[in-house]
């Protein structure tokens, strides 16, 4: 896999495999995947439903353990971490954004965003301040006291993104982050990701929407648990848009 050679890769996977079931019903959701993600890179993973995208993402974020293979995050091997170690990893090093938002229904937007910081042992005051900032960043400071049920899908996802950033993770993993959103909300979320990317965060986004995928620097296609294709999207400038889709008058 080609990477941005100058920077040490943040994520490294070697022969990563995840199996479900056994015998006849064995499913290789992720099948011998090698992957490197450079720090600061934005990577998109595409593929048909059921090809193992979510599973891969869950492995990268310590939500699940691989059946085989090695996995490093920031130079630390994480595939054999204890449950406690994984919890710490999810808390401090990774931010997760889900298609279904997964906000806590009984907590307000503000409290949802505070949660990871509090779990990490920050003082309530510091957590509150950080949550305010983040909600401000995602443009929801006026909705801080609302429960998720009182927010629109796009707003919920923005709260979830703010929450993912609460502990200033190096890596943000997003699983179909716009799958439940309309086009306007999708654009809002995309803009947020763009900001994160330019601020130097490493992003891995799973999607089946080409438009979202192409916001990344690199696009990987998956089929049946394996990588089948890779496209570097930043390679070779296309020149001014006009040259491609140029509008010209008949002369």
């Amino acid at each position: 896999m080609s990477t941005n050679g100058s920077v040490a890769p943040l994520v490294v996977a070697r022969g990563l495999r995840k199996e479900y079931g056994s015998g006849e019903g064995l499913v290789r959701a992720v099948d011998e995947v090698d992957l490197e993600v450079a720090a600061g890179e934005a990577l998109a993973v595409m593929g048909p439903s059921g090809c193992g995208k979510s599973t891969l993402l869950h492995l990268l974020g310590g939500l699940d353990r691989p059946t085989a293979g090695e996995l490093w995050l920031g130079g630390r091997r994480i595939d054999r971490l204890s449950e406690r170690g994984l919890a710490q990893l999810r808390r401090d090093d990774v931010g997760f954004v889900f298609q279904a938002f997964h906000l806590m229904d009984e907590l307000t937007a503000q409290e949802n965003v505070e949660l990871p910081a509090l779990l990490a042992g920050r003082s309530p005051r510091a957590a509150r301040r950080r949550a305010r900032e983040l909600l401000d960043d995602v443009g929801l400071s006026d909705r801080a006291g609302h429960l998720p049920s009182a927010l629109s899908g796009g707003q919920r996802q923005r709260v979830a993104i703010a929450r993912a950033l609460a502990n200033e993770p190096e890596l943000v993993l997003a699983d179909e982050p716009t799958g439940n959103l309309d086009s306007v909300a999708t654009l809002e979320v995309l803009r947020l990701f763009e900001t994160l990317h330019t601020s130097g965060l490493t992003l891995v986004v799973v999607t089946h929407d080409e438009r979202i995928a192409t916001t990344a620097d690199r696009l990987i296609s998956m089929r049946d648990g394996a990588f089948v294709d890779e496209t570097r999207l930043v390679d070779g400038t296309r020149g001014p848009l006009g040259a491609l889709f140029g509008v010209e008058l008949e002369v």
Binding site: E83, H102, E106, E111, L119
Partner: protein, 620 residues
């Protein structure tokens, strides 16, 4: 219609298959509730007006009269033993007059009564031997619980007396040196049971009788007469039925003044009975009250538990186009299936357990001889189960019908209000406590449910402790006075209390488990989210424990005075022995630790699976 019925059944089957644990826990909870109710009903047979029951069955007399040698005043106590004796004819004449007194509508006797010393199983005790014929008496026909009624050459022993002496049908007893077979055991409402039989007997011949425990036996008239001695001559006992039983006390007062008679009203016998109620009977009374309370608490837990989940399911069904009727029907069917199964299990368990605790062997009819669970009991239990199912289905249906489908899906019908105090207090606490507090603050109903359940549990345990403390501290009848070796078989007081304690504590534990389980299942999604965000297993389980312990603490504390109050109420105002502080503290801490430990189990089980499962289960 057929299609819809099929659909309903299919949905119910799928739901039960998909949530086997929920189904199992609901089943266990309903089984426990119905067991509780079955036992409670069985106990009512013993504790509900036991004297009245016995009086009705035995055609108990309204007034019992015996001749005395000198006029006495009526009352429970004869102030001093009387010396000398009047001629026999005089005595009977006085009784004959009484039969024709105003207000008397029926009578039996006078029966000859003698006072032999009875020897059995190595103990020696004074007996009151009443001579009876084998014919049925119109008034006071003792109810035979074992064996037969008096036959030539045999004796029948009053049940409490027999129990204390450890005598069974077929044993032999010695009366003033002569051996007699025991042919039966019976109960009566005419005189108080052992050891207070003597308080209902005009016993003017033996001094110091009051310091002795006395029991009643029945035999044939010739034998009773033959047991009289010059020093302890024959006496008589006459049973009267009045036109107005409520006037018995007045009747006694009127006739005691004018005749050389000793009279006793049925009210007096009842008073002795209840005042001297044996400690285990009191235990049973408290026990049955507690069983009822526990049944109510379990019911609340079943109906209120997982309400959120059920409401969401109603929303889901509505979202796919099910009519409110169908939704309610499906839910009802599901809970009815579980409730009836649970009721069956509960009745079966109750059937086997009831005789263990509801057969006190007291001097009253109680439930002995009757089946432990009557058809009426079965009816009540099934009705309760159906009511539980109905309520468990009805509340979420109504709630979901009132709210829009979308908010039912999100279960945001109950947008939790900010509980300022709790949420504010939370900001100064460690994170896991904070997590728990916030979960708790947003689920006020669940908190109340937990509070009630824990209060009942603690009340139960405190009452049991109080009874035991009372038992061990002061037995109401100092056994040394009887000079009777205590037969281990007859000491069923402790056995009954033990069984009752075990049953109550077991049911309390089932209750605690159900409430903990329901809370943790309802919190599965938020806790799964917390884990995905990096909460450790310990943080999650501490959060869950906190959410449960907050309402448990006041519950435990409230349980102490409530338990003591209950014992006091059941004890008809007699004094209550407060269990030692050490025991109370142990009970408090034990319950809290138990709930803490219980709540950590689901969190730990959950922790062994990736947090994804909890998140994904939300979607399906």
């Amino acid at each position: 219609m057929l299609g819809r019925t099929l659909l309903a059944f299919r949905l119910v089957a799928a739901s039960l298959r998909r949530r086997p644990v929920e189904a199992a826990v609901t089943l266990v909870a309903i089984a426990a509730t119905t067991t509780t109710l079955t036992l409670g009903l069985a106990l009512h047979g013993v504790t509900d007006h036991p004297y009245e029951t016995t009086r009705a069955i035995t055609s108990g007399p309204d007034v019992v009269a015996m001749p005395t040698s000198s006029p006495t005043t009526s009352g429970p106590r004869i102030s001093s033993p009387k010396a000398g004796s009047a001629p026999r004819t005089n005595r009977l004449a006085a009784l004959d007059d009484l039969v024709h007194a105003e207000g008397v509508v029926a009578h039996s006797g006078p029966y000859p009564v003698s006072f032999p010393t009875m020897q059995v199983n190595g103990s020696k005790v004074l007996a009151v031997a009443e001579g009876r014929s084998s014919r049925r008496a119109a008034v006071d026909q003792p109810y035979v619980t074992e064996g037969t009624w008096v036959r030539t050459g045999g004796v029948v022993i009053e049940r409490s007396f027999a129990e204390e002496l450890g005598v069974d049908v077929g044993d032999k007893v010695t009366l003033d040196g002569r051996s007699f077979p025991v042919v039966g055991i019976a109960v009566t409402a005419a005189v108080p049971p052992y050891p207070y039989t003597v308080t209902g007997v005009a016993f003017d011949t033996l001094p110091d009788i009051w310091s002795q425990a006395t029991g009643l036996i029945w035999t044939t008239e010739p034998i009773a007469r033959s047991l009289a001695t010059p020093s302890v001559p024959l006496s008589y006992m006459l049973n009267l039925k009045l036109a107005d039983p409520q006037r018995a006390s007045a009747f006694v007062a009127a006739h005691s003044a004018n005749h050389a008679l000793y009279l006793e009203s049925w009210q007096y016998v009842r008073k002795v009975e209840s005042q001297q109620m044996l400690p285990f009977q009191r235990g049973l009374l408290i026990g049955s009250a507690l069983l009822d309370l526990l049944a109510v608490a379990s019911l609340a837990v079943i109906v209120g538990g997982r309400l959120a989940e059920r409401t969401r399911r109603v929303g889901l069904l509505k979202a796919v186009g099910a009519t409110p009727r169908l939704v309610a029907g499906v839910l009802l069917l599901e809970y009815l299936t579980l409730a009836l199964l649970g009721a069956g299990v509960g009745l079966a368990v109750g059937w086997f357990a009831a005789p263990l605790i509801a057969n006190p062997g007291a001097g009253l009819v109680g439930s002995v001889g009757a089946p432990p669970v009557t058809p009426a009991d079965v009816g009540w239990v099934v009705a309760l189960a159906v009511a539980v199912a109905g309520l468990a289905a009805w509340i979420p249906s109504v709630r979901a019908a009132r709210t829009s489908t979308t908010s039912a899906l999100a279960d945001s019908a109950r947008i939790p209000k900010r509980r300022r105090l709790l949420v504010g207090a939370a900001s100064h606490l460690p994170t896991q406590l904070l997590l728990g507090l916030r979960l708790a603050a947003r689920r006020p109903r669940r908190m109340i449910l937990t509070l009630v359940s824990v209060t009942v549990t603690m009340t139960t345990i405190v009452s049991v402790l109080a009874i035991h403390a009372h038992e061990s501290q002061a037995a109401p009848i100092p056994r040394s006075v009887f000079a009777i070796p205590v037969n281990p078989n007859t000491r069923n007081t402790d056995a009954v209390l033990l069984v009752l304690t075990v049953v109550l504590v077991f049911l309390s534990i089932v209750n605690a488990v159900v409430i903990t389980w329901a809370t943790s299942v309802d919190s599965k999604q938020p806790l799964g989210v917390a884990r995905a965000l990096g909460a450790t297993t310990r943080q999650v389980s501490a959060g869950l424990s906190t959410a449960l312990l907050i309402p448990s603490l006041p519950g435990v504390i409230a349980g102490i005075p409530l338990g003591l109050l209950l014992v006091k109420a059941a004890g008809h105002g007699s004094s209550v022995t407060v269990p030692s502080g050490l025991w109370l503290a142990a009970a408090c801490i034990g319950i809290l630790l138990g709930i803490g430990a219980l709540s950590s189990i689901p969190a730990r089980i959950e922790a062994r699976r990736p947090p994804l499962d909890a998140l994904q289960s939300e979607l399906t």
